[in-house]
Amino acid sequence: MQQALLWFFVLASLAGGLLMLVLRHPMRVALALISTMVSLAAIYAILGVHVIAVFQVLIYVGAVMVFMVYAIMLLDVRDPSFTHRYSGYLLPGLAGAVVLVVAFVRGLAGSTPAVMGAGVGTTFDVQPFSVAFLNDYWLYFELTSVLLLAAVVAAIAILKARRRGNG
Amino acid sequence: MSEAAMLNWVLFLPVAGMAALLLVPRLRADLVRGLSLAVMVLQFLLTVVLYLEFDADLGGLQFETRLPWIADWGVYYHVGLDGLNILLVLLTAFLGPLVVAGAFSAIQKDVKLFYSMVFFIQFAMLGTFVAQDLFLFYVFWETMLIPMFLIIGIWGGERRIYATLKFVLYTAFGSILMLAAVIYLVWSLKSQTGITSFAFADLYGTRLPLDAQVLLFGAFALSFAIKVPVVPLHTWLPDAHVEAPTAGSVILAGVLLKMGTYGFIKLGFPLFPEATAVYTPVIMVLAVISIIYGACLALVQDDIKKIIAYSSISHLGYVMLGLASLDLLGIQGAIIQMVSHGLTAGGLFLMVGMIYERCHSRDLAAYGGLAKLLPVYSVFFMVLTLAAVGLPTTSGFTGEFLVLMGAFNAAWPQYEAGVTWPLVLACLAVLGVVLGALYMLRLAQHFLFGESKAPHQPLADLNLREKAILALIVVAVFWLGLFPDSFMRKTELGALEYQQQVMSRPAGSWVSVEPAGGSAP
């Protein structure tokens, strides 16, 4: 059952990814991406990595994609990129992607990760994760805040530049 | 000042000169000129003292300074005089004031920069000659490109950019491969003995397998041969000479070209004796080709500077021949020939510059019968022409004669042993003597004799400054032609050491080291 679900979500996320390449309107692409993300969250849940699954939904779908959708709606300009979906590098790009996937799959199929087999522990429950994060990894917490701070300043700078620029 | 420090003084005086020039206001051109001349004269005088103090009976280095420079790599600031460089140092210091004085009226643009560059190149050239550390040598060797690039490029003629880029790119290509060889050589020394050192003295002791030697020598030789220049690597020279301002040509012909031959004698041959044995036929053939090819080309040029430029190729062919002959006569002759060529070609370029300043043409056909228009000029020109032809009593004869004799002397025993080609080469080289007369007299003929004409008349004959410059050169030319012995005393031990370094190591006695690992791309 679980395995079947896993397969289902694997295929669903793959389908979502592929759809992103072919759908015409950005909004539909966004929806495809969201479906992929949700499928991935489901996979994480199946794997038992609940914290990540929750983050996936909250941060990606909840924050990032909402932001994207907002941007899409804001920029509802009709231009050639809506009618002509593909750049001049369609064939090389697809060929590249296909051979890359084939290479990855064939290359990695034979190799067994050294970390195999530990299975799911309690590591990924919310509480142990939070404790570990704040005890052992608080450096990253700090750094992340610096990063976000910088990103905010950057975003503001860009927006202000737009206002000032154009000249 | 202590004895040893004096060489450093000589070496760094141009740097001090540059620094002093920085302080002079840009528009005080006369002050710049005067200061430059004063510094150069001082440098020459100091060099003369050095020369006189140089003890001809001591082998090895004198006035040696050895200070750690990049201690971590075993690189030392190591300079000193020996029999091989003493004359070239003297020549460089001698030409310095003449170059400076010769440019007094010719250079009116960016005077300060010009003299700074002259100082710069003087520094680099002296440094190359006196360096006893391969790294230091290489640094000086390459540094030379910078001022020359600017001198030709800024103050040169119409196609100066082409000429100067050609010069730099040509030379830099050789240097790049030499750099690889330098690194490899030092690495070999380290892997053999555990010593990390760039000192010539240490590197002479490196024992390399023949195939490695052949490659390394090839890299060194390419770099040196371009600088000499040896046919067929010579085409930068005529262009550079033609486009360079007078001072540039004088430096180029007077000193810079000797870098190549000096490189051979100081590094190329002694570092790789077995490879030298392999390459000697090639070098001798190329030297003879240079002699004849350069002479032939000089014969059909219409640009006065080009004639002298091609004659330089021919004359330096003699130097190469002498060096490769490994006969003491040839080596000594080659050293003298280097100096002699510096004097004659330098002097001729100065003279061409003087006429160019007056008439703004280098076209041989535009001139004629200058002997009537400019009698004093013509006398000097004739003397220098004849010195270039190698007429006895001039320096040119001393060099050519000893070189040819050396080459022949080296070839004769081989001939008796049944190997004829060296003798054939020596005989062909003698042919260069005839060709030399042919093209130089053609120049003098068109230039000085015949119906009087010049693009710009009336012409003022030489002024006192110009006379003084040329008189000094002429005196030196005759001095070297009539009494070379005093000079050759100073170089004899150096020449002997060189000869022994190259010849004494019996083939096959070297210890093999591991061949280079790694794959080539």
Binding site: Q3, L6, V10, S13, G17, M20, L21, P26, V29, A30, T36, I43, L47, I52, F55, I59, A63, F67, M68, A71, L75, D79, S81, F82, H84, Y86, S87, Y89, G93, L94, G96, A97, L100, V101, F104, V105, L108, A109, P113, M116, G119, G121, T123, F124, P128, A132, F133, D136, Y137, T144, L147, L148, A150, A151, A154, A155, I158, L159, R162, N166 | -
Partner: protein, 100 residues
């Protein structure tokens, strides 16, 4: 093919599809989303492997990736807005002023 390999394959596939999307799609916003898809693919691989090893570090890294992705989008979208305002188009092929 066991699950780990299946998921790794999926992860690389998503990575490749995302990259291909950047190559072949002309719409700027779509390109951004394809970039996100690449990151998603990578996250999947991270999660799979950390889950196998029960590594908290891996989970922390995934969290960091999320934050970085968000920050990247936060910067990218304003840039896209700027470009769109300037040229009234979202066609990447229109933005080839810099070249050579």
């Amino acid at each position: 093919m066991d699950n780990t390999q299946l998921l790794l394959a999926l992860s690389t596939a998503l990575f490749a599809i995302g990259l291909a999307g950047v190559v072949i799609r002309r719409n700027l916003l779509v390109m951004l989303m394809c970039m996100e898809l690449m990151l998603n693919g990578v996250v999947l691989s991270l999660v799979t492997l950390s889950q196998q090893a029960a590594s908290t570090t891996g989970a922390v890294l995934v969290f960091l990736v999320f934050v970085v992705a968000a920050a990247e989008i936060a910067i990218a979208v304003p840039i896209v807005l700027l470009l769109a305002r300037r040229k009234r188009t979202l066609d990447m092929d229109a933005f080839t002023d810099l070249k050579g």
